[in-house]
């Protein structure tokens, strides 16, 4: 999945060594070596303190890695001899909390970027960005007169108007409440489909990552633990991924049928066909679904007499202990993809589960994440 990035002219190649300034109190260091695709959203995912933001700041040049190498689509931003200061890097940066200039209106904030964009921006780009982010009516207001969600939308628009070749987003939703997050997520999805710029998206939220990202870089204590396509990374059990109720896989699928009578859609994924609630997607539309491990149960035979709509033939690949000693996570092969089931050890024992065993997975619910 990262093959597109093997060409040094394309994508983002980053190698950083960064030591927390000062000594004693903290021994945190960042050591990464990444080759990322030159398009789509790449999530930098990990717990607080895993070095996500530091990595992003190194890419932006806001933090100077002791030893670093960084090329973005063939342009060297940092090497042993070169260190481009931030203002000479073609990037947009959306900060975690509101970063609008308080002395300028929303409009003034946008103009600040337009005036300094590398190439003169066209009116159509300006209009497109404002429409995309839905901020037209907010332009005359000062940041103190905007809600948190509105501020973040203006900040995203501002980052786009500088016409970056790389967009960096540092947990842009973290400072917002649930309702505001839901308000902004659709804008971020539109952003990906409208603009063809690679985005590095820092987040510790599984929801955001599974919904938005194409690729994932998993960080732990300043080291890269895994990188790859989002569905690939989230189906692994050997990684420090969220366990418990949050464990689950992401599948990509295509709508192949819409059932008017029951308001359901049938989607075809690499792991099998699934019925999901009709979310208005047309036949042929590619969508992404998330199957949580806690929603998957296993039966030895295929039960037609169950209320569960989705049943897939699967084969046991591995069984590992969840965070909770009573619970097991079972990784299953389904078609050419994987699904994870979360069961009690008692059930594992009862069904006499073992690697290689064939049985049926019942999927109680499938969430469309996009």
């Amino acid at each position: 999945m990262i093959t597109t990035a093997t060409n040094p002219k394309q994508g983002l190649h980053a190698r950083f060594q960064w030591q927390y300034p000062g000594s004693g109190a903290s021994t945190f260091s960042l050591q990464v070596d990444l080759a990322l695709p030159g398009n789509g959203i790449t999530a930098i995912f990990g717990q607080s303190g895993s070095g996500k933001t530091t990595l992003l700041r190194c890419v932006a040049g806001l933090e100077r890695a002791t030893r670093g190498y960084l090329t973005v689509n063939g342009e060297t931003w940092q090497s042993d001899r070169v260190f481009l200061p931030t203002h000479q890097r073609s990037l947009g940066y959306v900060f975690q909390e509101s970063s609008l200039f308080p002395h300028l209106t929303a409009q003034g904030n946008l103009n600040y970027a337009v005036k300094r964009a590398g190439t003169p921006g066209s009116q159509s780009l300006y209009d497109q960005v404002i429409t995309l982010m839905g901020i037209g009516p907010l332009l005359p207001r000062y940041p103190s007169q905007l809600s948190g969600g509105e501020r973040q939308r203006v900040a995203i628009a501002r980052a786009l108007l500088v016409q970056p070749r790389l967009l960096l987003m540092d947990e842009p939703l973290a400072s917002l409440d649930m309702a505001r997050k839901q308000e902004i997520l659709p804008y971020l999805e539109k952003l990906r489909t409208t603009f063809d710029i690679p985005i590095l998206y820092v987040s510790h939220s599984v929801d955001e990552v599974t919904r938005l990202a194409d690729h994932v870089v998993l960080l732990e204590q300043g080291r890269t633990v895994a990188q790859g396509h989002v569905s690939e990374v989230f189906s692994r059990l050997d990684l420090p991924l969220p366990a418990g109720d949050d464990a689950g896989v992401v599948w990509q699928g295509e709508v192949i049928e819409r059932n008017q009578q029951w308001h359901l859609s049938r989607i075809r994924c690499a792991g099998g066909e699934l019925w999901v609630r009709d979310a208005g997607d047309a036949v042929g539309q590619r969508i992404r679904v998330r199957i949580l491990a806690r929603d998957v149960s296993l039966t030895l035979a295929c039960h037609d007499d169950s209320s569960i709509l989705n049943r897939l033939p699967v084969r046991v690949m591995e069984i590992v202990t969840d965070r909770d000693a009573a619970m097991a996570l079972v990784r299953l092969q389904a078609g050419s993809d994987h699904v994870i089931a979360r069961l009690t050890y008692r059930s594992v024992e009862h069904l006499k589960l073992a690697a290689g065993q064939r049985l049926w997975a019942q999927i109680k619910s499938v969430a469309i994440v996009r």
């Binding site: 931030t86 203002h87 990037l91 947009g92 200039f101 600040y112 970027a113 590398g118």
Partner: protein, 227 residues
């Protein structure tokens, strides 16, 4: 109400305070910026030197400045080399002395306003392609505006209220160095209490009005935070 000498003193005081304030804004801004941003060990010593006039008796400051500006002092040698003669007992001598004397009143409000900005607005501006000078003029200056306003008012008012340093450096030359505070002193020495009263009242009203305006402004714009 005012004698001609009184009017001369008022005019001289306003001229001195205006010139000193303008100079101080130019000199104080880079010092404040450096003090607000540096991590150098020199920050402490430099900050202390800037703040010295707050605690030193004006006579001490005036004494050293008199020596420095005299024919053998380093300022005096410099001014002589530039063909300006020596500065004591001239208007420009008062200007130089007042710049030192009022420096902390200008540097500290600006420094505090700049330090309160933090790194973030500058980082944001950098990601929007603003270079260092661009960032300073489009982000730092407008955001630190309340600090500059406070600095201007305090610098001006403090120079108007100066006495000891002036007496040490400038003496008492009408039209040259005799400012309002010195003029009041003269009136009192000469037992002209009525005239001393008038001028003193003007000073009280002026100072009160300035401070009232300043605090009123700070209260109206709490989020601007002149911390």
């Amino acid at each position: 109400m005012f004698t001609e000498a009184d009017m001369g003193a008022i005019w001289l005081t306003l001229k001195l305070a205006s010139v000193v304030t303008v100079l101080l804004l130019f000199i104080g801004t880079p010092i404040a910026w450096w003090l607000a941003r540096t991590r150098s060990w020199l920050k402490g010593p430099v900050g202390a030197v800037v703040a010295l006039p707050l605690v030193l008796p004006p006579t001490v400051l005036g004494f050293y400045l008199l020596i420095a500006m005299g024919p053998h002092g380093f300022i005096g040698q410099l001014t002589q080399a530039l063909g300006m003669g020596v500065l004591p007992f001239t208007f420009w001598g008062l200007v130089v002395a007042s710049v030192f004397y009022s420096l902390p009143f200008v540097v500290q409000p600006i420094q505090n306003a700049m330090a309160a900005l933090g790194e973030r607005p500058l980082e944001v501006a950098a990601t929007l392609r603003a270079g260092p000078w661009d960032r300073f003029f489009t982000v730092v200056l407008p955001l630190a505006k309340p600090g500059f306003l406070t600095a201007t008012i305090l610098g001006f008012a403090h120079t108007v209220g100066e006495f000891g340093v002036i007496l040490m450096i400038g003496g008492n030359i009408p039209g040259q160095t005799r400012v309002v505070s010195v003029q009041i002193y003269d009136h009192v020495e000469a037992m002209e209490y009525a005239q001393a009263h008038t001028l003193a009242a003007v000073m009280v009203i002026f100072s009160f009005a300035v401070l009232l305006g300043l605090y009123g402004f700070q209260r109206k714009n709490p989020w601007w935070g002149v911390r």
